[in-house]
């Protein structure tokens, strides 16, 4: 299924707020696609888009809004439909969304939109984006379970599957979600008739390995991109320790990667991501770096762009043995003639701690950044301010070192032994609740792909506990 239509389908959602000539252009394209791919596939795409938009909605609610939009498209694509058909229909739908007994999914901020009127309300509703804590990943069903459910009602199964996948991957282009669903439904179609065929499932799953792994990777990096304020700062340290390059090079590489994510994660089509990652692979795997890298890294670079990134993501990073750069001290952080000095400082401390996951690293870096920014913009002497905050900055940096040490131990010890270790390390006032906070942070956030929102919260909780203890 071509994914070019996706950008036009999202135009349905926003079409009523675009300019007049945009409207008719969108209508032609949408109606053309509807005719080409058919109502059934169109419904799947709409379900994906709305499940991503409302991960907290029930299947019923999402189905409801997707069906309404499909009905609207079908009505307005009739030859005898009036030119303002979309506009009128979209307005009706937005009125319905704001109604008391709306059958559509409810976004927490919907009341804010509904208090506006007309054009503004529609624009507000169209651009609502949900932000929730991550949902648990789907358990892999057995071939028998798939076949039982699929053969009962193939079409309902496919809608339910796209809903469950889309609401768990809501920060990535819908195109990837639709592609995954199609692969899965095709597998059920081929392997359940006439009986459950294990070799068939084996073959299909084996062939889908690369794309399912990539989906997870993309979801992870896009979640980080959307949720972590200082993601780029964290990425600089990440690439610095991975590629063993100095700040300038690491910064260029991380900017390239992060700007690609910023551009493409929330676009509905997959093409943007594919192009960006293809160009990024060239940067990551360029000859000058490749020669000095490990065999594993070189092996990663010999694969297709998507596989290179997932492969590199799994490589072990080591703290650099020697940093070929002048060390930045906290006292210099407000020097006007060096605009990126804070970033250098954060790189310096971040690159050493390779056992800390990005959500934790960036939250701590964020904390340091805020402290520094407050000083640099202080009406009084920023140097004095920095001096006063020096111990706070050191303590925050020390938290990073402590997290690194604890996470290294977390992967070596059994959980009961780890808890004992934490209890021994955490002494003084409020030791029990502080210890609890550290254990929670470690068990959830030490693994590399830890959930960004939750880990941000847990890191902030630990920072607060430690601040209160030393206050």
């Amino acid at each position: 299924m071509r994914t070019a239509y996706l950008i036009f389908i999202s135009a349905i959602i926003i079409s009523s707020v675009t300019a007049d000539k945009g409207k008719s252009y969108a209508k032609e394209k949408i109606c053309g696609e509807l005719r080409t791919i058919g109502a059934k596939n169109f419904r799947v795409i709409l379900t994906a888009i709305y499940s991503q938009k409302f991960p907290n909605g029930t299947l019923e609610e999402v189905r409801c809004v997707a069906d309404e939009m499909l009905k609207l498209a079908e009505e307005c694509c009739q030859d005898d439909a009036s030119p303002d058909c979309y506009d009128k229909g979209a307005t009706e739908i937005s009125e319905k969304s704001c109604g008391k007994d709306s059958p559509f999914p409810k976004h927490p901020d919907i009341d804010k939109c509904c208090s506006a009127q007309g054009h503004e309300r529609k624009l507000c509703l169209a651009t609502l984006r949900y932000s929730s804590d991550e949902l648990p990943s789907l358990l892999e069903p057995t071939p028998e379970e798939i076949c039982t459910q699929y053969t009962q009602d193939p079409s309902a199964y496919s809608i339910r599957y796209v809903y469950e996948i889309a609401r768990r991957h809501w920060n990535i282009p819908a195109g990837f979600v639709v592609n995954t669903t199609q692969n899965h439904v095709r597998m059920a179609e081929n392997c359940c008739n006439p009986n459950v065929s294990k070799p068939c499932f084996f073959k299909e799953r084996y062939q889908q390995r690369s794309s399912t792994t990539f989906l997870r990777f993309l979801s992870h990096v896009c979640n980080n991109q959307v949720n972590l304020k200082s993601y780029q700062t964290g990425l600089t340290a990440f690439f610095g320790s991975l590629l063993r390059v100095p700040f300038e090079d690491a910064s260029t590489i991380s900017k390239h990667f992060q700007s690609g994510l910023a551009k493409c994660c929330l676009q509905p089509q997959s093409q943007c991501v594919i192009e960006e990652f293809t160009s990024f692979q060239k940067v990551l795997c360029k000859e000058s770096i490749l020669g000095t890298m490990s065999k594993e890294f070189q092996r990663c670079c010999s694969q297709a762009p998507q596989d290179t990134l997932t492969c590199v993501d799994n490589l072990k990073r080591e703290p650099p043995k020697s940093l070929n750069m002048t060390q930045v001290s906290s006292a210099q952080l407000c020097e006007k003639d060096q605009p990126d000095i804070t970033d250098r400082y954060l790189f310096q401390i971040g690159v050493k701690h390779t056992s800390v996951s990005l959500p934790v690293l960036t939250t701590i870096q964020d904390q340091i950044k805020s402290t520094v920014a407050a000083c640099c913009s202080a009406p009084d002497d920023s140097t004095t301010c920095l001096k006063e905050k020096e111990s706070k900055l050191e303590k925050t940096a020390a938290l990073l070192a402590k997290t690194d040490a604890l996470c290294s131990q977390y992967f070596k010890l059994e959980l009961p032994a780890f808890k004992t270790l934490v209890q021994q390390e955490v002494q003084g006032e409020g030791a029990e609740s502080r210890g609890q906070a550290w254990v929670e942070l470690s068990t959830t956030c030490c693994p590399q792909h830890s959930p960004p929102q939750l880990c941000q919260k847990l890191t902030e909780a630990v920072i607060k506990h430690e601040e209160d203890a030393t206050a």
């Binding site: 991550e134 358990l139 892999e140 057995t142 070799p199 084996f202 889908q208 065999k295 693994p447 959930p451």
Partner: protein, 382 residues
């Protein structure tokens, strides 16, 4: 790969799963291996004085020099100067056998797929190691692999110690001409065969091990809860007779020996307490993986390997994991009831993979290997 090079559509593949204890081999597309034989080679070398060693009937007319013996039947015939060695430890090269093309795949991935899953925690307990390998979306998560040396060979060692304590000699069948029946627990009474060739120590040990392994498979049982002396004393006994006629009823020992797999703290012969029991091997492995995939791993714990066939192994593992995981965690052990599938799941996975139509594009030809070296293996083989 063009079909022309390899004879068109009718290209078959041989599938080998080479373990420390046994090799499973057969044809792609079949549902179980045709051959299952020990991973040892018997090597005879000429005597130092230039005379040739004793030949058996099958080898008349063979030239003197190095002779290799594989397979149980060949190996069990006592021969002079035949040393037993493991090809795994001593290196092996496939190219000596003029193989036109090959493909390697990690056994954990194959076991998972053979059990209908691309995600799961593969627990493989064989002869030398008990290993937990997390597999997610068909790829092994290297950082989560946990290995423990407590496996089949460890239990064999414990069995040997038991017999030493009982002052019972392990005599393999090849030495025994005749035996008398004796009372339970009484010393054995047997006659040694005359005119036995001068066998090597390595071969003699190998034959003793087969006696121990038979005892292991027949008598041992894993307790369904942590070992308790009083409970073990109530255990129904199993009668076992060694090849030399010594026979005894075994009760508490049946549970005590395999307990070391799950709770190494009290096991004899272990230096320090740093070994992980089977339950901990699993939970440690899962704990090294991202938090959001852990339910998927606990929901598919795939149990494979010959050592897991000990009676009671999976029940005890289930109990241990239920206690170590949160109540909300859905725990599912996938353990085939048949010996065939449990020991052969990796082979079966390989058989399915090698029979897929797309497989022919995957394998590495001799030419590719000659040109690309080991790197093409790393690149092409998951």
């Amino acid at each position: 790969m063009s079909g022309g090079v390899y004879g068109g559509d009718e290209v078959g593949a041989l599938v080998f799963d080479i373990g420390s204890y046994s090799v499973r081999a057969g044809y792609a597309g079949e549902d179980c291996p045709k051959a299952d034989f020990p991973t040892v080679i018997g090597v005879t070398l000429d005597r130092e004085d230039g005379t040739t060693p004793m030949e058996t009937d099958g080898e008349k007319g063979k030239q003197s020099g190095t002779t290799y013996y594989i397979d149980t039947n060949q190996l069990r015939v006592p021969r002079e100067n035949m040393e037993v060695m493991s090809p795994l430890k001593n290196g092996m090269s496939t190219w000596h056998y003029n193989i036109p093309a090959f493909f390697l795949c990690k056994t954990a991935v194959l076991s998972a797929f053979a059990n209908g899953r691309s995600t799961g925690l593969v627990l493989d307990s064989g002869a030398t190691h008990t290993t937990a390998i997390p597999v997610h979306d068909g790829y092994v998560l290297q950082q989560g692999i946990v290995k423990s040396p407590l496996a089949g060979d460890f239990m064999s060692m414990q069995c040997r110690e038991l017999f030493q304590e009982l002052s019972v000699e392990i005599v393999p069948p090849y030495m025994i001409a005749s035996k008398d029946s004796v009372r339970e627990g009484a010393p054995a009474s047997w006659k040694k065969k005359e005119k036995l060739p001068q066998v090597t120590r390595s071969w003699h040990n190998y034959m003793c091990n087969t006696v121990i392994q038979d005892f292991q498979a027949s008598v041992l049982q894993v307790s369904d809860s942590p070992y308790d002396e009083q409970v073990a004393a109530q255990m129904p006994t199993v009668h076992y007779e060694l090849p030399n006629g010594f026979n005894c009823d075994f009760g508490a020992e049946r549970l005590k020996i395999p307990e070391g797999l799950f709770d190494p703290s009290n096991a004899k012969g272990l230096s320090g307490n740093t070994m992980l029991g089977v339950g901990h091997v699993v939970t440690t492995s899962v704990g090294m993986c991202d938090i959001d995939i852990r339910p998927g791993l606990y929901g598919s714990v795939i149990v494979t390997g010959g050592n897991t066939l000990i009676q009671g192994f999976t029940d005890r593992l289930n109990r241990e994991l239920s206690q170590k995981t949160p109540p909300s965690m859905r725990l599912k052990l996938i353990a085939s009831n048949t010996t065939v599938e449990r020991r052969f799941s990796a082979w079966i996975g390989g058989s399915i993979l090698a029979s897929l139509g797309t497989f022919q594009q995957m394998w590495i030809s001799k030419q590719e290997y000659d040109e690309g070296g080991k790197q093409c293996v790393d690149r092409k083989c998951p």
